[in-house]
């Protein structure tokens, strides 16, 4: 019954590999950016904090698809020829960075101020205080929402197909166009996405339980 799906599987798997690479790249770069911005937004000088707040505010109010389109067209508009993946990848990194930034900033600020007072009254300077007291606890708090963001990002890679970059969703629509076996193909693609997300989902559930216990 799933004859068409089975025949198309090699092609779809190639798409899945692209999806995985795209996800890994955008999640890792976006998380790095988000950590830098989030830390700056929490403990940096006031103008820097304001800039980060504005950045996050803007990006949270825009759909990722629109940001991808902008990313796709901004380079030619400036006169540069850039690979499609680089363009949409950059757009995704900017977008994911904003969300990770908010998570990191929130986690840092959520460390109880009483502990800051205690650290200061011991004579601790800012650097050791952030390193020993704030960041370890903030990081622990940030992991569940960060994993959720990573999961969301994997799924958001499907949007790049709308802009014209080839990955699993694009491949799926090509196959459907050719074979008209829409339900079968998309069912198979759904399973593929689920498999890609599975490790993170398991890790997220595992860590949610562990974090809940610790607090």
């Amino acid at each position: 019954m799933f004859h068409v799906l089975i025949i198309s599987l090699p092609y779809l798997l190639k798409g899945a590999v692209v999806t995985v690479w795209l996800s890994l790249a955008t999640i890792s770069l976006g998380t790095l950016l988000g950590f830098a911005l989030g830390t700056a937004g929490a403990v940096g000088p006031r103008p820097l904090r304001a800039a980060v707040t504005a950045y996050v505010f803007v990006l949270r109010g825009v759909p990722i698809l629109v940001v991808m389109f902008l990313g796709y067209y901004v380079f030619p508009a400036l006169g540069y020829r850039v690979d499609a993946y680089v363009a949409v990848g950059a757009a995704m990194v900017v977008y994911v960075g904003a969300f990770v930034s908010e998570i990191v900033r929130g986690a840092i600020l959520a460390v109880p101020s009483g502990q800051i007072a205690a650290a200061r009254s011991l004579g601790m300077r800012r650097g050791p205080m952030l390193r020993e007291i704030v960041f370890p606890q903030a990081f622990r708090m940030a992991i569940p929402p960060l994993l959720n963001t990573a999961l969301t990002t994997i799924k958001q890679t499907s949007y790049v197909s709308v802009v014209g970059a080839w990955e699993l969703s694009y491949a799926a629509r090509e196959v459907v166009e050719r074979t008209l076996a829409a339900f079968e193909i998309f069912l198979g693609v759904m399973v593929l996405y689920f498999i890609i997300c599975y490790p993170l989902s398991v890790a997220a559930r595992h860590l949610e339980r562990r974090y809940a216990f610790a607090s």
């Binding site: 109880p112 009483g114 502990q115 007072a117 205690a118 650290a119 200061r120 009254s121 011991l122 004579g123 601790m124 300077r125 800012r126 050791p128 020993e132 007291i133 370890p136 606890q137 622990r140």
Partner: protein, 257 residues
């Protein structure tokens, strides 16, 4: 050793400290009593400059706390590094303990010596173990705060502050969050500390402790010092009506000495 003169502080329109002046000699135990909102905690936090103050001066061993005076009477805030170094000499224990939950008891006590003074972990651990033994928690040294009772956590907090070998210890209502059965163990540690000659400023509601351990009692209300003097005199013969009312409320629970 500590001299406070004309201390004033406001939070916006609210004046919390309205001209406080008092002195604490080395080795003295001063207990500060007063109703909520009288400014006791704020005053304490000004002494180690966790809060800046607007007017007046706080001097510890002659040094002005938190500010540097320019010749013409004006003053500028000291840089953060100087203030941090000054705070090494003033230990503080908080009502909500404020232990670092992701570190064990001994690691909490080691935090100051290792990350402020740069002492080796091995040496710091030995000293910390000794301090924890001193407050009666030797067997709990590798436990995490979540597994300790309130009284035990507070005793770890005291050990943590003592690890920096401060000249003064400030106690901010350290037993107010504790179950009554756990209050005694903390007060015992504080009493022993007093007997060893530590200079202490204790904000508390424990009137019996004030009567038995304090060298002097200060009664604050609405940001000013209303009465000051020998514990027994002040508590048995309060001169001001406000203090009389305050003591009367607590006298019922006052155990006989």
């Amino acid at each position: 050793m500590i001299a406070v003169k004309g201390l004033r502080k406001s939070f916006g329109p609210l004046t919390v400290l309205d001209g406080i002046s008092f002195a604490v000699a080395a080795g003295e135990v001063v207990v500060v009593l007063g109703p909520s909102g009288s400014g006791k905690s704020t005053m304490l936090r000004c002494i180690n400059f966790l809060e800046p103050y607007d007017e007046g001066e706080i001097r510890i061993e002659g040094e002005l706390v938190g500010y540097r005076e320019a010749g013409n009477g004006k003053r500028t805030p000291r840089p953060e590094g100087e203030i941090a170094r000054f705070r090494e000499q003033v230990g503080m224990v908080f009502q909500s303990f404020n232990l670092f939950p992701h570190r064990s008891a001994v690691e909490n006590v080691m935090m100051g010596p290792v990350h402020v003074r740069g002492i080796s972990r091995k040496a710091a651990r030995e000293t910390a173990a000794g301090l924890l033994a001193k407050v009666g928690l030797a067997e709990k040294m590798d436990e995490y705060p979540a597994r300790l009772s309130g009284g035990q956590q507070q005793r770890v907090a005291i050990a943590r502050a003592l690890a920096m070998q401060p000249k003064v210890m400030l106690f901010d209502e350290v037993t107010s969050s504790l179950d009554p059965e756990l209050v005694g163990e903390v007060l015992l540690v504080m009493r022993r500390l007093a007997q060893e000659g530590m200079t202490m400023i204790v904000v508390t509601h424990e009137i019996a402790f004030a009567r038995d351990v304090a060298d002097r009692i200060i009664f604050m209300d609405k940001g000013t010092i209303v009465e000051e003097g020998d514990p027994r005199e002040v508590l048995l013969n309060p001169r001001s009506e406000r203090l009389r009312g305050f003591v009367r409320r607590f006298t019922g629970a006052l155990p006989e000495s």
